[in-house]
Assembly symmetry: none
Homo-oligomer: 201 residues x 4
DNA sequence: GTATAAACGAGACGGTACGTCTTGTCTTTTC
DNA sequence: GAAAAGACAAGACGTACCGTCTCGTTTATAC
C-alpha cells in the first residue's frame, strides 16, 4: 500500500531526479536572488530541466516553493515532541528562542519570506500550508500546552489555539514586518507576559 | 511660510495633479486586479501619466503603494485617541473588533496584502512603514494601555510594546496566513486571554 | 548530402509563417508610415508576432528591411538577361527608362529610400546588399555591355564596372538627392552622353 | 546687408552664441556618436542650451544638421573657381581626386552620411540642400566645363548638367553604397571614360 | 525483444511588462 | 521676451519571463 497511484495502463513515469533537482534549485535560487527575481525559467535552467516539466507538475511558482519546503521538513522528525521538563515557562522560552534563531538565520530568511508572499496571495496555497506544514507544528505546540494544562499550570478553560497564537504571533509579526529587534530576550518577555497576563496579579 | 523649498534657480516643479492621479490609480488597481497583476505600466495608463513620471519620483512599485496608503491615512484624524471609557477590556474588544472588520473588508484586503508583500521584501520600505504608518497607530494603542496602567488595571512593570504585539499580533497573523476564521469572537477571546494570562488565577 | 543541418538533439524549428509575416509587414509598413516612423514594435504588431521573434532572427531593423527586399527579388527571374536586340543604344535606353519608372513608382520609393538609409550607416548591410542584390543586377548589366563589346560597339579596353556606374550612377543620384527631374528623357540623355563621351567626335 | 531678418517691431533677440553652440555641437556629435544616436537632447546638452531653443528655431534634426553644414561652408571662399590650366582632363582628375579624398576623410564621412539621410527623407531639406549647398558647387563645375566647351574641348551641344552628374555621380554612389573602392585611380578612370565615351573612337 | 506512449531537454512562439531613452510641448524662473 | 532648466505625456527601445506549443530523445512498461 505504498504506491501513490495504482500502476494503471497509461502509466505515469515521473522522473524523481527531475523533481528533486527542481525543488533544490528553487530553494537555492530564492535564497540567492531573492523572491522578486525568482523565475520558472531560472529554476528550470538551474535544475537542467525543461520548463514544461515544471508546468506539468506544479500549478504555480508558489507551489514549487511550497513543495521545496515540504521536502526539507520531511527530513525532520515529525514525531519529535517539544521539550517537556515540567517547567512550562522554561520550556516555552527554549522553544521560542529556537524559533527566533531560525527566523534570524539568513539561510531561511529569504525562502520563508518568499513562501509567505505566495501564501499571502494564494488561498489554496495558504490552505495547503496550514494543513501540511503549520498544523503539524501547531499540534506539537498544543500538545505541550495540554500537558501543562493537565498539570494545572494553565487555565482549565484556555483556548489552546489562541494561546499558541498569542505566543508565536508576536514573533512572526516582528519578523515579517521587521517591527523591532527579534532577540531571545524578546522571546522571554513574550512568554512571561503571556503566562502572567497583562493584568496585575 | 508657504514655500516647501526655497525656490532655487533650477527649481523642481513637480505636478501635484499627476502625483494624486498616480496614487489613486495604484490603490484602485491593486484592489481590482490584485497584487500580482499590478504593473507600473497599468498605473501610468490608468492615471493618464507617462511611465517616466512614476520612475522619476518613486524608486519602486512598493513605494508608490506605500505613498497611496499614506495619502489615505492623511485624510484621517491622526490625533484621534482610542476609546477610553474606563473599562479596559470593553475598550480593547471594541478596537480589536474594528480591526477585524477592517481586515475583513474586501476594499482593504488586497491593497493591504500588496503593501505587506512589498514590506516583506524591502527593508527600506519596512522602515518607512514602521515610522510613518505603524508607529503613530502603535502610539495610540500604547497611550490607551498607559492610561489603564495608571489606573492600576495593568501590571506596573508591563512592557507596553510586548502587550500591544500580543493583542494585535494574533489577529494580523490569522489574516496574513488565513490561519483560521477572523471573527469578532476571536478578537474577544484574544483580549480576554491576554488580559488574564495563560496561567490560572 | 541533402540535409541542411544534421538534426542535432536540440534542433532549430524556425517558423516560416512568422518569417514571411514579418517581412511582408515590414515592407508594407515602411511604405505606409515612412522610414522615420518604422518601428520593430509596429512590425511585430502588424505581423501578429512577438517582438522577440524579430530580435531572435535579425540583428537590426535594417536587416529585416533587407530581407524583405530579398524576398521580393527572389520572386523575380534572376536569370532574365537584359534585352539584346543588337542596338546597344536602344537597349540601354529601354533599360534605363525602366529604371527611371521603377524609381518613380511610389510603391518602391519609400521602401528603397529606407533600405538606402540603412545601407548608408551599416557597412555590414552594405556588403550584404552589394553581394546579394546589387551584384547580380550589375552582372546582368555588364553581360549586356560585354556582348556589345564583342560586337565592336564598345571600346576594347573599357572598364565595364566604370561604364555601368557611369550609366546608372547619375540616375540613382538624382533619385536619392532629388537633384532634378527624373524623366525618360534624362535617361536617354545619359545614355547618349555616356556612349559618345563629353569630347567632341 | 548681413542680417538674415530685418529687425521687425516685435524684435528678435536671438542669441547668436546659442546658435553657434548648437550647430557646432550637432556637427561634433554626429561625428562622435553617429547618425543613429544623434538626438536633440544630446545636442542641447552638449551646447549647454535648453531644448526649446532648438525647437524654437529649427523644424527638425535634419535642419540643424543642414545649418551646421552651411556654417562650415560659409567659412570657405565661395567664389573660388575650379582650377583651369587649359588641360581639362588633368584639371578634372585633380578635382575628382580631391572629392575622393574628402569623401574618404573620416571627419566628414559620418556628418555627410547623416545629412544625406535627412535629405533622403525630407523633400524640403533636399530642396534647401540643392539650392544652398549643391547648386553653388555645381555652378563652379559647370563653369569649368563651359570654359572647356568654349575652347572646343567638349561637344558643342553637351548638356552640362548631365556631364557634371556623369562625372560626380559614380563617385557619390560608390561612397554612399560602399559599392567598391573609392580610390584616386577610380577617379581618373571615371574622367577618362566620361571624356572619351563608351564607344570606340 | 521489441513496440509504444509518457515524460523529458530544449527552445521557438505570441505576449506582457520591465526600466530607459527620446520626442516635442509646456511651465517656471532668470536675465 | 528669449533663454536655461527641466517636468510632462507619449511611446519605442531591447531584455526578461510568462505559459503554450512543438520537436526529437529517452525510458519503462506492456505485448
Amino acid at each position: 500500500m505504498t504506491a501513490q497511484h495504482g500502476t494503471a495502463p497509461g502509466t505515469r513515469r515521473r522522473s524523481e531526479a527531475s523533481r528533486r533537482a527542481i525543488l533544490t534549485a528553487a530553494f537555492e535560487l530564492v535564497g540567492e536572488v531573492g523572491y522578486a527575481k525568482l523565475s520558472i525559467e531560472g529554476i528550470a535552467a538551474r535544475a537542467g530541466v525543461g520548463k514544461q516539466t515544471i508546468y506539468r507538475w506544479w500549478p504555480s511558482k508558489g507551489a514549487v516553493l511550497f513543495d521545496a519546503f515540504l521536502m526539507l521538513s520531511e527530513g525532520e522528525d515529525d514525531s519529535a515532541a517539544l521539550p517537556d521538563t515540567g517547567d512550562l515557562e522554561a520550556d516555552l522560552k527554549t522553544v521560542l528562542r529556537a524559533t527566533v534563531a531560525e527566523l534570524n538565520d539568513p539561510r531561511y530568511d529569504e525562502p520563508m519570506r518568499a513562501l509567505t508572499t505566495e501564501i499571502l496571495h494564494d488561498p489554496a496555497l495558504a490552505a495547503a500550508y496550514a494543513e501540511r506544514l503549520d498544523r503539524p507544528m501547531k499540534e506539537l505546540k498544543k500538545q505541550r500546552l495540554r500537558s501543562a494544562q493537565r498539570a494545572g499550570q494553565l487555565s482549565r478553560d484556555l483556548d489552546l489555539d489562541v494561546a499558541v497564537e498569542m505566543l508565536w504571533g508576536p514573533l512572526l509579526n516582528r519578523w515579517l514586518q521587521r517591527g523591532g529587534p527579534l532577540t531571545p530576550e524578546y522571546a522571554d518577555s513574550v512568554v512571561e507576559t503571556a503566562l502572567d497576563g497583562l493584568r496585575p496579579r
